[in-house]
């Protein structure tokens, strides 16, 4: 008993010594929290943010919340506990995230949101969001043109918990619903997943062989749908995606998928870290909290200029 207590005390003293000594030489920490890196889009965000953080002399703590608001809340706790100086966050839900970001703010850790916005102002320091609605309108306009303003089509929707799944779907319909000769014969969620989109497309195609187009909420689902169409010998079906991934770029240049919409993921993540750095070092907040970044239509004309979620000139 006595020995145990002495050891505990020694360990405690050791921890104290470590705790006080560490900040003298360790770099400040920036936490980078995104959805799963299985999707190259989120990976590009994490890679972009991490590269910029290191370039500016920070240590980076890269975490994934898998679009689970509970897990996100735990990761925010981890970031606070680890003494992060800022959190770069691609969040897990416009409403569910507000409390988690508020918690970080109350603990003195500023959050810089990327990609998806939250339904509150004044909680995060910055919200650098892709204008998904504008992007969806661009994609839908191209889709309408490719379809010749008429015919049956299918919509693949993203994961319901993700705000952008709803925003993109609304943006698509905002344009498409103005054309009464375009008829949606199926609308299903494939949860952003390529394999799920493949399976869903197979069954949709069996029930609706007369489809002319597929508009997808993201590129991974577009890839899955297109693979199912190729397997069914239906390369004639027009497929349009969203994100601007290298996979879809290659499909476009090979004459497969017809178009996608680029979100500047890499640049956006880097911009968030720069703003975090400015906040940490100079106590300077960006001029506007919500900063919308426009998306760009990618089709056969410019696909060759696309590389890792950025357009070269």
């Amino acid at each position: 008993m006595k020995l145990t207590r002495r050891m505990t005390l020694a360990a405690f003293a050791g921890m104290l010594a470590l705790g006080t000594a560490a900040p003298a030489y360790a770099a400040d920490l920036i936490a980078i929290i995104t959805p799963s890196h299985d999707n190259p889009f989120f990976k590009a965000e994490a890679v972009g943010a991490e590269a910029k953080a290191k370039e500016l002399g920070y240590e980076a703590l890269v975490l994934v919340h898998d679009d689970d608001a509970n897990k996100q809340s735990e990761l925010i706790d981890t970031a606070i506990g680890r003494g992060a100086k800022a959190i770069i966050l691609d969040n897990a839900g416009a409403d569910a995230t507000v409390a988690a970001v508020q918690k970080a703010k109350d603990a003195g850790v500023p959050s810089f949101l990327i990609d998806r916005e939250i339904n509150a102002n004044g909680v995060a320091v910055a919200q650098i969001v892709s204008n998904n609605y504008q992007g969806a309108q661009l994609g839908a306009q191209e889709f309408v043109k490719l379809m010749g303003e008429k015919g049956n089509f299918v919509e693949l929707v993203g994961k319901e918990s993700d705000t952008n799944a709803g925003i993109r779907s609304k943006g698509y319909h905002d344009v498409i619903d103005d054309y009464p000769d375009l008829k949606m014969v199926a609308q299903q969620s494939a949860n952003w997943s390529q394999t799920e989109a493949y399976a869903k497309m197979e069954s949709i195609l069996q029930a609706n062989p007369d489809i002319k187009g597929v508009i997808s909420g993201n590129d991974t689902m577009a890839m899955g749908a297109y693979a199912a169409l190729v397997a069914a010998n239906r390369k004639d079906v027009i497929v349009v995606g969203f994100d601007g991934s290298n996979d879809v770029r290659d499909s476009i240049t090979a004459g497969g998928i017809k178009a996608t919409v680029l979100q500047p993921a890499y640049a956006q993540a880097q911009m968030a870290v720069e703003q975090a750095n400015d906040f940490i070092k100079n106590k300077k907040s960006p001029e506007k909290e919500k900063q919308l970044m426009d998306c760009v239509l990618i089709n056969g004309d410019n696909a060759a200029k696309l590389e890792t979620f950025a357009l070269t000139n």
Binding site: N70, A94, T163, G166, G171, V175, M293, D294
Partner: protein, 235 residues
């Protein structure tokens, strides 16, 4: 901590009894209380579903546009707009100056510039087969189209919204509200102005338009969204 209220107590009591039975002791209140607490901590608290993406029920973009159209939007465009040839010449060489003079200098960071313009000239082509109908206007009399004017019913973009210097994205809850507000301008213009325009034999007639356009790359012709439009009689 008192006795749990009846609707809750049935399941909780049974749970407690089972636990008490397993422990092979008589259920007494303190143990029940502990058991209830254990069963509560074992529950996973699930997040409330976030609805339709935060588009609040009270938000009515059509009404908002209707309320400001005659009082603010049209007077603003009349005051700011320049003749198309003049605006476009400056837009091509110095978009920021053109934006400050004819548009909204407080626009979003990476979004393209949008300008208020007057387009007056001769209709030299029209595409009324599409629901996104347009007419191509020659403003300088050289026989070539200079601008393409949307005449609906389907319309692209948010040029009217984006030309206004008193509209800011940060005043909206989210991009859905902001976008629907943008679309409401097009819908209002279509309902009150464009749907009343003639559709047949447009070529050769004159057109007079007050509207806005966004400077975009890869466009065949600048695409103008009208707030006011008149088409002259057949020649």
């Amino acid at each position: 901590m008192g006795r749990p209220s009846p609707p809750f107590s049935v399941g909780a009591d049974r749970h407690a009894e089972q636990q008490a039975a397993m422990l092979n002791i008589k259920p007494t209140w303190p143990i029940l209380v502990v058991a209830v607490c254990i069963s509560l901590t074992a529950c996973k608290i699930l997040p409330t579903p976030s609805g339709d993406g935060g588009n609040s029920a009270a938000f009515n973009p059509d009404k908002m546009v209707e309320d400001i159209w005659a009082a603010k939007v049209v007077p603003y465009l009349q005051r700011k707009a320049g003749p198309f040839a003049e605006v476009h010449a400056l837009a091509k060489t110095d978009p920021a100056s053109a934006g400050a003079k004819y548009g909204n200098p407080n626009k979003q960071a990476n979004s393209p510039w949008t300008f208020a313009v007057r387009v007056e000239g001769k209709i030299i082509a029209a595409n009324t087969g599409s629901r996104a109908a347009t007419m191509d206007i020659d403003v300088d009399g050289d026989g070539k189209a200079d601008a393409r004017v949307q005449i609906g019913p389907a319309m692209r973009g948010t040029a009217l919204r984006d030309s206004l210097d008193f509209i800011q994205f940060n005043d909206f809850t989210n991009q859905i509200d902001f976008a629907q507000f943008g679309k409401a301008f097009n819908a209002y213009a279509n309902k009150t102005v464009l749907s009343k325009l003639p559709r047949d034999a447009l070529e050769g007639r004159t057109a007079k338009v007050l509207g806005a356009y966004t400077l975009e790359s890869g466009q065949d012709l600048p695409l103008v969204t009208p707030a006011e439009a008149e088409i002259g009689p057949k020649p």
